[in-house]
Subunit: 280 residues, 2 copies
């Protein structure tokens, strides 16, 4: 019966995942073997199928009463599971497989396809006042190289090591989001970055964004150093300022519910997947 | 390479799905063979593994450029895919497998576990004013027997046949939701049903709820016949009336985003899975 508790995934990588920016740089000594193997297969031959061994009902063989990782992830994405500090330890392999196995990319692409269809259907006012708000981390840039080396969210947040990673300015692009970003510019909708990164990280953030192919944004709004406000309060407040300045927020995209909750949210909001961490 | 495009699921049904209320009554002539086989296995032996053949990247063998059904479902649950009329035709088998294969039950259980943990942590005022709003269809009762015979949401909504089904009063309980309902009553939180079913369906709705083990609700709010209002407007308005009458809406659970969007939403909201239909 042990094998009956396994979820065997046979995924064709052909139509989903160019390796490119998704190759991990640097050492990956802490990656679970299954994730390393999957990443390696992606690097070697993106046309070959990637075979993962997942456990939908229990997180690991040693934890038979454990968390159903797929239900946990759905609950996170649908805003049922909130205020969590870390990914369940037993779901480390599951999250790693999700992030590297093409599933994350496919889910992200679907969201962006919806966002583009919506944007293309908008009737613009012709006065250049339409803007679209983009979060940065896990929305425009990916911190997956960091999280892959730190337990895929199973370890408590470590501000020191995470900020050291941010200051490298090496975060890869999230290609689907960049596709939306460029499409909006071509349509005449102005992108605005609104991030929980702090003002003292402006220079490296700009450098990282440019290095990864972003250009032409209207504003880059960073959090004042020392501001004590929740993400929802801070981001809502910044969106209200945009609105008060005469801009129409036609769209808003982020990986956290705190990016897209709180009036004014934007005329339509899009939630990208993120099973790595929660920001309230 | 064709086989590489298949997602093979080997699910253990042991820990998730008693058959019970989930046995389908009546003819199932329109069910896809794979779904019928899965349902049959569940009926025969709930301890045996259920083997499904799903296609994550394409909906059917004949539709290689089709919808990635798992990404479609996630987008529905996270409120990225909105205003849709029917399930993509190529996802009929996927949705059927999801609903019958234990995955739906497992996802629902996870949401209810979160809701119960939240409810148990509440400090009540002691004046009996705390209420919890429950939607009915696909929340408290299941219309899966109807949808299994009508293409699992792939066919356009047919008010005549659906209302005929409702008037049978035979919709089975959603066991996870009933567990929450009973727990809330034991905690002293009063359940209120708030449904898009119309006032002329009150008697059969009460009969169906009672037959399926519900009792002790404080109110059953049905939509006035002929009311022209969106689900969000109608339900928000009813919640506001509850609030104006002195009740504190500590929780709100539904399968549609229109159940839980619109102030006052309730202090916390829970979105149950529903890949069968969308109500805006």
């Amino acid at each position: 019966m042990a094998t009956a508790k396994l979820l065997l995934l046979v995924l064709a990588a052909t139509s989903c995942c160019g390796a490119g920016a998704w190759e991990l740089r640097g050492g990956l000594r802490k990656m679970p073997p299954a994730v390393e193997a999957a990443a390696e297969r992606l690097r070697e031959d993106v046309a070959a199928p990637v075979i993962h061994a997942l456990r939908p009902l229990v997180g690991s063989a040693g934890d038979l009463a454990g968390v159903p990782c797929d239900s946990w992830r759905l609950a996170v994405e649908a805003h049922n599971k909130i205020d969590w500090a870390t990914v369940p330890a037993s779901c480390e392999g599951y999250v790693g497989n999700y992030m590297f196995g093409g599933h994350y990319r496919r889910d992200s692409r679907f969201v962006v396809d919806e966002a583009i269809a919506y944007a293309e259907g908008l009737k613009l006012g012709g006065n250049g006042k339409e803007v679209w708000v983009f979060d940065i981390d896990e929305t425009s840039l990916s911190n997956l190289p960091y999280y892959a080396k730190h337990g895929f969210g199973t370890k408590p947040y470590n501000a020191t090591s995470f900020n050291a990673y941010v200051l490298e300015g090496s975060a890869p692009v999230l290609p689907e989001t960049q596709r939306l970003f460029k499409k909006l510019i071509s349509l005449g909708i102005k992108p605005v970055f609104l991030t929980g990164r702090t003002e003292d990280q402006r220079a490296i953030t700009v450098a990282n964004l440019r290095r990864q192919g972003y250009s032409g944004w209207m504003k880059l709004l960073l959090k004042p150093v020392g501001l004590k406000a929740s993400a929802v309060a801070y981001k809502s407040d910044e969106r209200r300022k945009l609105q008060d300045a005469g801009y129409l927020i036609v769209g808003n995209i982020g990986d956290q519910w705190s990016d897209i909750l709180g009036a004014p949210e934007g005329a339509r909001t899009f939630k990208l997947p993120d099973p790595l961490y929660y920001i309230g």
